[in-house]
Each structure stands twice: as structure tokens, then as C-alpha cells.
């Protein structure tokens, strides 16, 4: 099919607008992080840097534990992702493919978990974690992240499970395969895109979580990226260069990760459903 000139124009115009709206801020941050301090706070800003320096990154590495924050964030996010998927998958299957008494009520209960502002559970959770000795432990963060990602993850699986024709399962049952086998052998490959999107959702939720990480973690060596980053925002001075370098350093790892799995994830999410 061919597009008319007008259609092409609006299509590429739209693409350009999206690219600019999303890309420009990041361009400014990236280029800002290598400008000399004077150029950063200049009254008339420059689109393309006129100066080049790595001093902000040097300062960042020298004076803060950014690599450690990065490592902590990765560990917490990976464990959060794994546990979210492990809990969400069977639950979603039971909710959307099985019949059992109280199914609807239980499903709604889980969804209701989303109705609570995180701020509400912060204080009681702190007390709970303190009792079991989990303050200042990444385990506490994993627990919180899984709890907040789980309801949406279960819900997300719903539409993916819906795309799998029931006949496939029914055929398997006729063959006498037990339910767990159906789930693992037959369904898993079919809903792989769904699992991928749940995993990404859980990973990113954990990667960006700030409120709980800032209160539950006490020592510097266990901080995650968002909290570590908040730490370099000075109380009485703002070093924009350092902040932009920190922002760049916080962005690049997820971007790198996304460069690896992102294409597969989005393609799986969108093309997979058609098959």
C-alpha cells in the first residue's frame, strides 16, 4: 500500500515530534554532563557543547559510591523481577484459566492492593521490617518492590493468556497432561511476550523506586541509584555538572540493558500477539 504525500508528511512529522519530545531532554542532559561548569549555568544555553570536560564524572566516581549504588540497584531489581514473575504467573493462570470458589472475590482483592498509596504502608512496614531485622537490607526492598509490582503484573498476564486459544489446553488435557505440565510446556512459550513484559515492568518499577528505598536503607553501601542520586543533590549548593553526570550515569545502565533486551521485549509484546 502506498501513502499519499499528506499521509507521509503527517506520519514523519509525528515521528519527529515524538523523537524530539523524548530525545531532546536526554540530549541536553548528556551534553550538559560534559560541559564546563561555566557553560552549564550560562544565561543563554548552548545546544551543542562548546567545551568538553570529564571533571563531573571524575568527581562523581571519586566522591560517591556510584558503582556500588548501581550494583545494589541491579541486584534488587533482578531479584524483584524473578520473584514477581514466579508469584504472578501461577496466580494469573489460576485466575484466568481455572475455576475455583471465590475466584472473583480473590481476584478483586488482589487488584485492590493498587488502591493504597505507598505512603500509607510506609510506617507500619518500617515497624514490621524492624521487628524481623530487615531494616537496611536489600531483602526488604525486594519484598516491597514485589508487593507493588505484583497486582499489575497479574493483571497484565490477563490479556496475554486471553490470546491463547483454549483448544490448545483442552487438547493437552485430552492427552492426559497434568496442569503443571500444561503451564510449563505448552503455555509458557505462547505467553513468553507476556512474561517478558511483566519482567520488564517489575524490573523498571524496582529500578526507579525511591520512597521506600530512601527510608528503609540506612547505610551508604546499600543504597540504590535513585537514593544515591538524591544524595548528591546538595543541601546548600547545587552542582549542576555533578547532577547531570549523575543523571547520565543513572540512565546509561538501563539504556544499555534495554539495548540488549528492549527490542526483543517490544517486538514480543506487539508481534507475538498476532501469531
Amino acid at each position: 500500500m502506498r501513502r499519499t504525500f499528506g499521509q507521509s508528511l503527517s506520519l514523519y512529522g509525528g515521528v519527529l515530534v515524538i523523537a524530539l519530545a523524548i530525545g531532546l531532554p536526554f540530549w541536553w542532559v548528556l551534553t550538559g554532563s560534559i560541559k564546563l561548569p561555566k557553560e552549564i549555568i550560562q544565561r543563554v544555553p548552548t545546544m551543542v557543547p562548546h567545551s568538553f570536560t570529564l571533571q563531573h564524572f571524575e568527581k562523581l566516581l571519586q566522591a560517591s559510591d556510584f558503582p556500588i549504588y548501581l550494583f545494589n540497584s541491579m541486584v534488587v531489581a533482578l531479584f524483584s523481577t524473578a520473584f514477581t514473575v514466579l508469584l504472578a504467573l501461577p496466580a494469573a493462570y489460576a485466575f484466568f484459566r481455572m475455576e475455583f470458589p471465590g475466584r472473583n472475590a480473590l481476584y478483586k482483592t488482589i487488584l485492590l492492593a493498587y488502591a493504597f498509596p505507598g505512603v500509607v504502608v510506609l510506617i507500619p512496614l518500617y515497624g514490621l521490617f524492624a521487628k524481623v531485622g530487615l531494616i537496611d537490607s536489600p531483602v526488604a526492598l525486594v519484598i516491597v518492590n514485589v508487593a507493588f509490582a505484583l497486582p499489575f503484573s497479574i493483571w497484565m498476564m490477563r490479556s496475554f493468556l486471553a490470546t491463547v486459544p483454549r483448544e490448545i489446553e483442552e487438547a493437552a488435557i485430552v492427552d492426559g497432561a497434568p496442569t503443571t505440565t500444561i503451564l510449563v510446556r505448552i503455555l509458557m512459550p505462547l505467553i513468553a511476550p507476556g512474561i517478558a513484559s511483566v519482567a520488564i515492568f517489575a524490573f523498571i518499577s524496582s529500578w526507579t523506586e525511591f520512597l521506600f528505598a530512601s527510608v528503609l536503607i540506612v547505610s551508604d553501601v546499600r543504597r540504590t541509584i535513585p537514593v544515591g542520586f538524591a544524595g548528591i543533590i546538595g543541601q546548600y549548593q547545587i552542582d549542576w555538572g555533578l547532577l547531570l553526570a549523575g543523571a547520565t550515569a543513572a540512565i546509561i545502565p538501563v539504556v544499555a540493558l534495554f539495548a540488549l533486551v528492549g527490542r526483543w521485549f517490544v517486538a514480543g509484546l506487539t508481534d507475538g500477539a498476532v501469531k
Binding site: W28, A88, A91, M98, Y114, P117, S159, F210, I233
Partner: protein, 290 residues
């Protein structure tokens, strides 16, 4: 499929986990709401419904509720429009579409704190990028303060939050769009339906389930947005962006009225539960119709 034991075995880990991590603290919050605890860690006494009377009679609570409604509706509107436009574009075939589909998510994978710093810097009239750009384009004459007025602050926050979330919504919609069989469009084209007709007759109705889900979840998610608002305006100027989560945090940690904060939390939760309950029921009904 019937296998009750197995079904419960599948559901219970997730359920018990949520009960322990979210349900139990919620009960604690409810207990707290009947007491008079001030600073965290101090002793409280049972005072019955006193806090509820105070909060429900406080104009500040109702104003915050109103702002939350404005916040949720505006975010839903802006994000849905942006996401729908972006999803329709990304559903086309053009060189680089795969790259575009992947990287549109960029704003969502960046920690909120970083988003906040980026925009605080970009929007600042002294040294930020946006003001000179707008001046060059002739939109404004002198640098403006985006957070200086009540409406300006709210609008700017909504735009920033939408900037962060609309790509996520876009991907969800894109998934919904790709699930619409191509043959339908082909058939419509043969019938002579134009672009708009095809959108109205095929895309829009078949996208409804996706939009419904996104509407409900999006509402709950954006209602509970706290960090962006707190880190950018702290509810200001002059309370203009003080939504309910901000009010809860402020009451608990800045006003040292923990029990009152718990009361607002309970009221908020009841409200959201009601919303979630009604909408999911409407959705189930809508599905049953089809």
C-alpha cells in the same frame, strides 16, 4: 478447568504475600486512625472517631481531594491522547519503526528523581533550556517561571508526569492495536472506508478493552503518584499541587499528626477501593455483553 486444590496452590503464594506486606500494614494504619498519635514512635490513646470528624470537617482535606481528581483526570486525558497518537504512528510501517518502538520507553525507565532533576534544570529561567527556546520561537517575551502560579505549577506537573508515563501507555496500546487482525482493515478498505472511517469503525471499538484496563490501572497509578510532586513543588505554591498522597505525607512527617495522616489514608483507600470495585464490575459486565 476444575482443580480447586491446584488453583489455590497457584493463587495462595501471591495472595499471602500481598496480605503480609500490604494488608497487615493497612490494618495497622486503620488502628492508628482511631488513636491520637503525633510523632512516629510516641504513645497514643484510643479516641474513637475523633480523627474522622476532624478530617471530614477540614476544608483542606476536601481541597486536596479536589486537586487529586483534577490531577487524575488531566493525567488520564493527556496521557491517553498522547499515547493513542504515538501508538497509531508506531503501528505504521516506516524505516526505523523498530528502533522507535523500543526507545519510546526511555522516559519511563529513568528513575523519578532523575526525571525531577532533569526538568527542574530544563525549566529553570536561569540557565535552563526551555525558556530561551520558547523566547526564540516567539511564544514568550521574557523567561517565565513554570511553577510560579497555581495553574502553572499544576499544569507543568501534569505535563512532566505525562511525559514520564505516556510511553508506557503507548506500548500497552500498541500491543492492543497489533492484536486487531489486519484482514479487518483490508476488508474495510475494499469497502471504500477512509482512514478516519477505519479508525472509527475498527480501531476505536476494538481498542476499548485495552483502554478500559489502562483507564482503571492508570487512574490508581497516577492517583498515588507522590515523588514527582513532592520533589518538584512539595505541594506548593501555596498548596496548589497538594494532592491527597502529598497531604498524607505532610500530615504524618511534617505536621507530626500521624493518626490524622492514617485517617486520611483510610478514607483515601476506601475511595479508591470503591472506584476500583465499580469499574472492574462495569468491565466484567461489558465483557459479558460481548
Amino acid at each position: 478447568m476444575k482443580n480447586t486444590t491446584l488453583a489455590f496452590a497457584f493463587v495462595s503464594p501471591a495472595l499471602l504475600f500481598l496480605l503480609a506486606v500490604l494488608g497487615w500494614p493497612l490494618v495497622q494504619a486503620a488502628i492508628l486512625s482511631f488513636q491520637d498519635v503525633g510523632v512516629i514512635g510516641s504513645e497514643g490513646h484510643f479516641i474513637g472517631l475523633g480523627n474522622y470528624a476532624t478530617i471530614l470537617g477540614d476544608a483542606g482535606f476536601w481541597r486536596a481531594l479536589g486537586r487529586s481528581v483534577v490531577w487524575v483526570l488531566s493525567n488520564a486525558l493527556v496521557q491517553t491522547l498522547l499515547a493513542l497518537a504515538a501508538a497509531l504512528i508506531l503501528n505504521q510501517k516506516f524505516p526505523g519503526v523498530r528502533i522507535a518502538r523500543t526507545w519510546i520507553i526511555l522516559t519511563w525507565i529513568v528513575p523519578t528523581v532523575v526525571v525531577v532533576i532533569i526538568w527542574r534544570w530544563l525549566l529553570s529561567p536561569s540557565g535552563g533550556m526551555i525558556n530561551p527556546l520558547l523566547i526564540q520561537a516567539g511564544v514568550i517575551e521574557r523567561p517565565v517561571g513554570f511553577f510560579a502560579t497555581r495553574e502553572g505549577a499544576m499544569t507543568t506537573l501534569i505535563m512532566i508526569n505525562s511525559w514520564r508515563w505516556f510511553p508506557f501507555t503507548t506500548l500497552m496500546m500498541l500491543a492492543g492495536l497489533t492484536r486487531i487482525p489486519g484482514d479487518l482493515y483490508e476488508a474495510a478498505r475494499i469497502d471504500g472506508a477512509g482512514t478516519f472511517q477505519r479508525f472509527k469503525r475498527i480501531t476505536w471499538p476494538l481498542l476499548q478493552p485495552t483502554l478500559m484496563v489502562l483507564g482503571v490501572v492508570g487512574t490508581l497509578l497516577s492517583f498515588n503518584v507522590f515523588d514527582v510532586i513532592w520533589l518538584l513543588t512539595a505541594g506548593g505554591p501555596s498548596g496548589a499541587t497538594q494532592t491527597l498522597p502529598v497531604l498524607i505525607y505532610e500530615t504524618a512527617f511534617k505536621g507530626y499528626r500521624l493518626s490524622e495522616a492514617a485517617t486520611i489514608s483510610v478514607l483515601t483507600s476506601i475511595l479508591l477501593m470503591g472506584f476500583a470495585f465499580l469499574t472492574t464490575r462495569a468491565m466484567t459486565a461489558a465483557e459479558a455483553d460481548r
